[in-house]
């Protein structure tokens, strides 16, 4: 077990390095750099002045040295300053992180709960009209592009029915701040979560089906246990062991979807920030965000692997 853990941790670190190098290289390839971005193209600043600024900021060193400097600062969570807003990047990220976490967290919890329930129902009533309906639903949510679903949601629920607000994460001067935030959270959270729900439903359904036909289920029933206990305690529990891994595997897509959803619903989180940063060529911010996302993904998959190893003793002693 310990060896497995250490192996996975080393892997995670390697991946983080790899990504940081890739992003750094991509950004170094870009025309113009931080100093150029500080002045408009037709400014009077002489090339010599620019060169001196570069020397001061350490931008004239060759790429590997710059990378090491950047890495050294990044490890201490100092990502420098955003080019477009001149604020320290760590502060910007820290401020907007809770908003995105709310959205992603809501979608995650919603899809896990819904996925489990619908997947279990579909498996238990296999081939019934309910199963077909649920399967069709899953296919639909998986096929509709998220931004189209978001637009549809806004059109139906916000514009025509006026049940939920369409944009933003809160209304200024609302009476009850918490309720208002929840109100704003429903549409984007639902849009983001439905895709994952569909994937999880299909997974739970097929996994549970496999388990239901296995021998130990027959034994449990033969023991005379009530059907519900048989299904939940023996069937579901065993079917769900790789469930954590499945969720962790879909997490990158969830984060990608968050970017789209935040754009459609004007949700002021990290996704929207990433997009505006990329279009503004705000390279330090883009790099920091890319790294942050990757860290989240790598850590969550690491945790998922650990949880899987804890839950399934077969892995530990493999």
């Amino acid at each position: 077990m310990k060896r497995y853990l250490i192996q996975r941790c080393v892997q995670a670190v390697v991946i983080l390095f790899g990504i940081s190098v890739l992003v750094f290289v991509a950004i170094s390839l870009m025309p113009g750099d931080a100093v150029d971005a500080m002045f408009p193209p037709d400014s009077m600043v002489t090339p010599q002045a620019k060169a001196q600024m570069r020397r001061q900021l350490g931008l004239d060193a060759p790429a590997p040295i710059r990378y090491i400097h950047w890495l050294g600062r990044a490890v201490r969570l100092n990502f420098g300053y955003s080019l477009s807003s001149q604020k320290p990047i760590s502060q910007i990220i820290w401020e907007r992180m809770p908003t995105t976490l709310m959205l992603v967290g809501f979608a995650l919890v919603l899809s896990v709960v819904l996925g489990l329930i619908t997947g279990a129902i579909a498996a238990l009533k296999q081939y019934s009209w309910l199963d077909y309906l649920l399967t069709l639903f899953s296919f639909t949510w998986l096929s509709i592009p998220e931004f189209f679903l978001g637009l549809l949601m806004i059109y139906v629920f916000a514009v025509r029915l006026n049940w939920f607000p369409a944009f933003g994460s809160s209304t200024a001067g609302a009476h009850n701040a918490v309720l208002d935030r929840l109100h704003h959270l429903v549409l984007p959270g639902l849009t983001l979560g439905l895709g994952l729900t569909a994937a999880l439903t299909r997974y739970v359904r097929s996994s549970l089906l496999d388990v239901l036909h296995s021998d130990y289920m027959r034994t449990a029933r033969a023991k005379g246990l009530r059907e519900r206990i048989v299904v939940v305690r023996h069937g579901l529990r065993n079917a769900l062991i790789p469930f954590i891994t499945v969720v962790a595997f879909r997490l990158p897509y969830l984060l990608g979807g968050a970017v789209i959803i935040e754009t459609v619903f004007q949700w002021p989180g990290l996704g929207l920030l990433a997009l505006t940063a990329a279009s503004n060529r705000d390279y330090p911010l883009v790099m920091a965000l890319a790294l942050a996302v990757t860290v989240v993904v790598v850590i969550s998959s690491l945790l998922a692997d650990i949880a899987y190893a804890l839950a399934d003793p077969r892995i530990r002693y493999a």
């Binding site: 991946i15 870009m30 592009p145 931004f147 059109y155 990329a278 279009s279």
Partner: protein
């Protein structure tokens, strides 16, 4: 002498039996049993044909602005209405389909080829090469593709070629893993041993025996990857990072809906392309599912 002759004959017979293992006639029959898959195939074929013949299908030009006809609701003249610049939506949907389908197919061509190559090498050679390739695959799999796209596309410039390249170069991992697994299991089959025994060199074994028998999961995965690539391209174009207007693509046609007025008052502008994407991807998913069941009847859900 007699013993070796018999061994050679045995090897030849086993090899021939292996070639007849393709089960071609049953595949189609099993496929059409899935009505949804069949419907999917028909829809995709129809959409593909429409996309291919787009320039000749409609009297309207997908690019020319006709401001006098702007923002018309659906009618007999314009079955899906016109957009803010007066262009017929249905024509643009077909033209956009051309672009979107072409991008998706190209990206999958790249990723499937790359994935198959790496998977075969990994599975066949094994050992350190296999371990190294699997580590690289794991590393690539951890890259959140979308974030990478958002970082790289502004760097490289938004264009169809870049989108295809990036999508293709970062989607090969699933196929590689599948192929590797399949190659590993094919390698344990008796006809491989027979081929080695009858003196076939590595290249022949791979090309004539390993590869054809490992293609089943690749075909299914590639079909599903086309759907994913289409969604990814649509999302990128929607965000403005993919195909740039005036070239229509289903994604960037939906970008118009970002304006509240279009969203609320001219829903036909975005319902058309959005529905097109949804239906096409749905059909491809159904097809992929049907293919999976048809090509490998031992795999039951």
């Amino acid at each position: 002498m007699a013993a070796s002759l018999t061994a050679r004959q045995g090897a030849t017979i086993t090899l021939e039996a292996a070639h007849h293992e393709r089960r071609r006639p049953g595949v189609w029959r099993r496929f059409v049993r899935h009505r949804l898959a069949l419907a999917g195939l028909i829809f995709v074929a129809a959409m593909g044909l429409a996309a291919l013949l787009a320039p000749w299908l409609s009297p309207y030009n997908a690019y020319k602005m006709q401001l006098l006809d702007a923002r018309l609701p659906p009618s007999l003249h314009h079955p899906l209405g016109t957009d803010t610049l007066g262009r017929d939506i249905l024509t643009r949907v077909f033209a956009g389909g051309r672009v979107s389908i072409a991008v998706a197919l190209s990206a999958v061509a790249i990723s499937s080829t790359l994935g198959t190559f790496l998977g075969v090498v990994s599975g066949y050679v094994g050992g350190a090469v296999d371990a190294a390739l699997m580590r690289i695959t794991d590393m690539f799999m951890s890259f959140p593709l979308f974030v990478l796209l958002i970082v790289l596309v502004p760097v490289l410039g938004p264009s169809a070629t870049n989108v295809v390249l990036i999508l293709g170069l970062f989607s090969w991992m699933g196929v590689a893993r599948l192929v590797r697994g399949q190659v590993l299991s094919v390698m344990t089959e008796p006809y491989i041993e027979a081929a080695i025994a009858s003196g076939a060199n590595s290249r022949r074994i791979v090309l004539r025996h390993v590869l054809p028998n490992s293609m089943v999961p690749v075909i299914v995965a590639s079909t599903l990857n086309v759907a994913n690539a289409m969604l990814a391209e649509a999302a990128l174009s929607f965000l403005g990072l993919g195909i740039q207007p005036p070239t229509p693509s289903w994604g960037n046609m939906l970008n118009a809906a970002q304006q509240l007025q279009v969203l609320v008052q001219q829903p036909w502008v975005w319902l058309g392309p959005g529905g097109a994407i949804a239906l096409t991807v749905l059909s491809i998913n159904f097809m992929g599912d049907g293919l999976r069941d048809a090509l490998d009847p031992r795999y039951h859900r």
